[in-house]
Amino acid sequence: MRPDDADRRVRNRSWMPGLGHMSLGRWGRGVRLTLFALVVVLLMAWRWDRFFGAFSTPFIDRWIASVFLILLLAGAVWFSRWDVGRILLTDGDATKGKSPWKVAMRRFRENRLAVYSIYIILFFYAAAILAPILAPYDPSAIPDVMANRYLPPSWEHPFGTDEFGRDLFSRALYGARVSLSVGILAMIIAKTVGTIYGAVAAYFGGIVDAILMRILDVWIAFPTFYLMLMLVGVFEASLLVLVLILGLTAWPGTARFIRGEILSLKNQQFTEAARAIGLPAHQIILKHLIPSALSPVLVTAALAVAGMIGAEAGLSYLGLGIRPPTPSWGNMVSAGKDNLLNAWWVAFFPGGLLTLTLISFSLSAFFLDEGELWAVDGISFDVDIGETVGLVGESGCGKTIVAHSILDLIPYPGRVVSGRVMFDGRDLMRASPEQMRQVRGGGIGIVFQEAAAALNPVYRIGDQIGDVLQLHRGMNKQEAWKETVRVLGEMGIPEPEKRAKSYPFELSGGMKQRAMIAIAMAGRPKLLVADEPTTALDLTVQAEITDLLEHIQEQYRMAILIISHDLEMVAEMSDRLMVMYTGRIVEMGHTRDLLANPEHPYTKGLLAAIPQLGAGSDVPLEGIPGAVPDLLDLPAGCTFHPRCPLADADCSVEPPPIKTVGYGRECACYKVRMRT
């Protein structure tokens, strides 16, 4: 920490925007702040008569422009001081923090296109507000027409002049005021009306909802632009009416969205709690429901503004929106459409500004996806022919990643960084794609966690099995169909001919799981990987599926790797057991031995949580304190040490290696000694 008086000096310097930052060595932000303030001050000085003179005129827009300039300067000073204070307080560690808002901001800042777009939008809005100060000419005054008509772009007229000799740059600045404010106002109207409408429909439900939704159906049926055209035709379009028309044609989308959101929120606990205290309906809606559904609406707001600006420009272009002489980007383009050959600039510049604005809005609404990082580390195990090995661990510890790594199925951007998967004397990590394909489905079959998600919904069960038979067992269509029916029967599916012709959605959960196993078994694999094969099923069906797995293993003498968080189920089936925690195997051994004498504190904790399998009455029945840590943010050293009753200082330095501690028993813990 710096001494206090140094801090004070920096703080005092930060009265000059950017100076404080520079003396803290933050040159980038400091220079930018100083430049910003300098531009504002220069602007005031350059147009002093207009800036200062505005206060002696009765025109509200000139007042607004001058006040806005003052606010910009004040804002720069305030931000400079606030930011310096923040840096001094936190030592500049502002990038940390996990609130959703900060994560979103960080992600947003990483997307450079989005940031530039925001800058462009802000710049345009500032220019629009400052139009009375910036514009070199009066946008509507017609000077000597003959002398000034259709002048090409020059220093004097950056965008050239139009057929009446008016300066197009000034007109474009004033046009920005119309276009941009129409966009924002119409968006606000649309979102407000839509939000209220949707919220009311969803909250009251029943007959109110039914009526409101039927009205919405009718309204939605009208194509937006046609509806706008009709209303513009019916009402004389002043600026205000235009804003209303745009806003009121565009709300149904929001209404639908909000209604859906609220319907799903409605049954959640906090609503019931609010109702239980006796809050009236409108308060529940306003205080609880709307804020929770609001953020997605705000995300789409940028796109909505772009839509509104585009619609206004379209209408004005057609001569049905803002009418000349009031400039709007749309009617300015329209004014140039008949003289593209001799005066291209008339249509080009206003349309270009409009395009740039619309593009900026859509790019700013475009967030990049967050990249994920998984960590599975230092895992080594083998599965022998005819053997069943179990892999257990709490959810989120990386079990599924292990299953998928074996067949190199990790979806991009994830990948297997190092390691070997030896199968039949061959390293699968080095196998060619062609060899890998032979192994997938042929040598190794995999049963996925959720059969409903792993079966392709648009193909019949029989076809999905038949494809595998044709691929891996070289059968033709007829043979494959016969074999399909036989395999389905073998998996205990009644009426296999009929079921083969069913689509996945027509089967029950247990049937789907049997079908999944049938697909995995169709290629006669030597190893079956079963990833949570029973988790999604009812208890009775679970037992049937484990019986089935045991049965087919006996029949085909294959190896099974069974992965689950359900220790009981795995213990019952497996010959050997591996316990996994945060991407590492912490203990493994023969099932019976491991259950009777767990060594690793985590294994002990797991067993203690299950009464009937507990090692003895001396172990108190309790869970493990704390929760599985986030894989992105693992504790140093042994990842279990924050939850471990035996942990001491050594445990938080290096992760313990896995070592043999007894016959067929391996354990990764500093506190576990070799058994004697």
């Binding site: 039927r214 009205i215 159906d217 009718v218 309204w219 049926a221 009208f222 194509p223 632009f225 046609y226 055209l229 009709m230 035709g233 019916v234 009402f235 004389e236 772009a306 585009g310 379209g314 272009y317 057609l318 001569g319 049905l320 383009v333 140039g336 459409k337 593209l340 050959l341 249509a347 080009f348 349309g351 270009g352 395009t355 619309l358 593009i359 809005f361 859509s362 790019l363 475009f366 998928h404 199925l409 979806p411 991009y412 192994v439 997938r440 489905g441 996925f448 966690q449 959720e450 998600a453 792993a454 079966l455 392709n456 919904p457 648009v458 193909y459 595998v468 959605f505 999944m516 290629g523």
Partner: protein, 330 residues
């Protein structure tokens, strides 16, 4: 299937009725006397009050509004949309003339849209995160954001005015009548290039993004990983397992383009002086020609309903999960 379609058709009857009603009352919300609109095109002429009364009677405007409404309903049910205030011709005839022109434009534009959009969408989804994918994603975002009238004007400026490759507007050349049959065809095609391109490219940008997102969604499904786990070739996985699922929502999108097909594109038709439905509507709004406005807006809305119906039926036809007897509620 037949039962499902009938049911959906019956369900859309009240919706269509609502549309017709809403159109009527929106048009009659107009402040002032409808007669003013009728007379506006020739306001210069002094019209006798007696004549106005006669006209009022002729068009039934002296009746109370609910009687007018019922009359209008009856006429609309018989396909009679009244007479254009401005052109003094039956609206129906004008629509019949405009639709073929619009169809030429929109059918071609949709084909272009689908060809480019779907192809690019698939490529950029399959090669996700590649340079190409990024370019396509941002490029389509930009193209989608460009206002069509400005894009059209800039293309006209470059290709018609400066380079002289394509005509600036109209459906045919001045010397069209002197051309041979093949010459006529070519002349028509030549006039179609720019408007179809502008309409198609904007649509393609949207389609490409939609296709990409849908395909990526499907590629992240577990059944795709499961298909890989069964040892299929990557090509088989994408073409057979992923595309079939991803195409379902795409197909329905095209079902919903029915109002566009017949309603046309207001702005593009106006820019290219294309005598279709869109320009008819814009002209009518500019001239406050009520019967035409009501007819086109109403038709566009009814087509939207039919389009949604069509989309749902296609959905039911291509997706085995949707059963015909229990319609989905979205």
């Amino acid at each position: 299937m037949l039962k499902y379609i009938t049911k959906r058709l019956l369900l859309s009857v009240p919706l269509v009725l609502g549309i017709v009603t809403a159109t009527f009352f929106m048009a009659h919300l107009a402040p002032g006397d409808p007669m003013d609109m009728y007379l506006e095109p020739q306001r210069q002429r002094q019209v006798d009050l007696e004549v106005i009364e006669l006209l009022r009677k002729k068009y039934g405007l002296d009746q109370p509004i609910h009687v007018q409404y019922v009359t209008w309903l009856k006429n609309v049910a018989q396909g009679d949309f009244g007479e254009s205030f401005r052109h003094r011709r039956p609206v129906k005839d004008m629509l019949v003339e405009a639709v073929p022109y619009t169809l030429q434009l929109t059918v071609l534009a949709i084909i272009l849209d689908a060809l480019i959009g779907i192809t690019i969408g698939i490529i950029s989804a399959v090669k996700q995160y590649s340079k190409l994918d990024k370019t396509v994603t941002i490029g389509s975002l930009i193209i989608y954001a460009i206002p069509s009238f400005w894009l059209a004007l800039m293309l006209i400026m470059v290709f018609s005015v400066n380079l002289g490759w394509f005509p600036t507007s109209q459906t045919r050349s001045m010397h069209y009548e002197d051309l041979t049959a093949i010459g006529k065809m070519l002349d028509r095609a030549w006039h179609l290039v720019l408007p179809v391109f502008v309409m198609g490219i904007a649509g393609a940008a949207g389609t490409a993004r939609y296709m990409r997102n849908k395909l990526l969604e499907v590629l992240n499904e577990e059944y795709i990983m499961a298909a890989r786990a069964r040892g299929f070739r990557e090509k088989t996985v994408i073409v057979k397992h992923a595309l079939r699922n991803a195409m379902i929502p795409i197909v329905t999108i095209y079902g919903m383009s029915l109002p566009f097909l017949l309603g046309g594109a207001t702005i593009i038709e106006t820019i290219f002086a294309w005598p279709g439905m869109g320009r008819l509507t814009v002209g009518a709004v500019g001239g406050r020609d009520y019967p035409i406005i009501m007819a086109t807006v109403m038709i566009a809305a009814v087509l939207t309903v039919l389009g949604n119906l069509l989309a749902d039926i296609t959905y039911a036809a291509v997706d085995p999960r949707v059963s015909y007897d229990a319609p989905r509620r979205r």
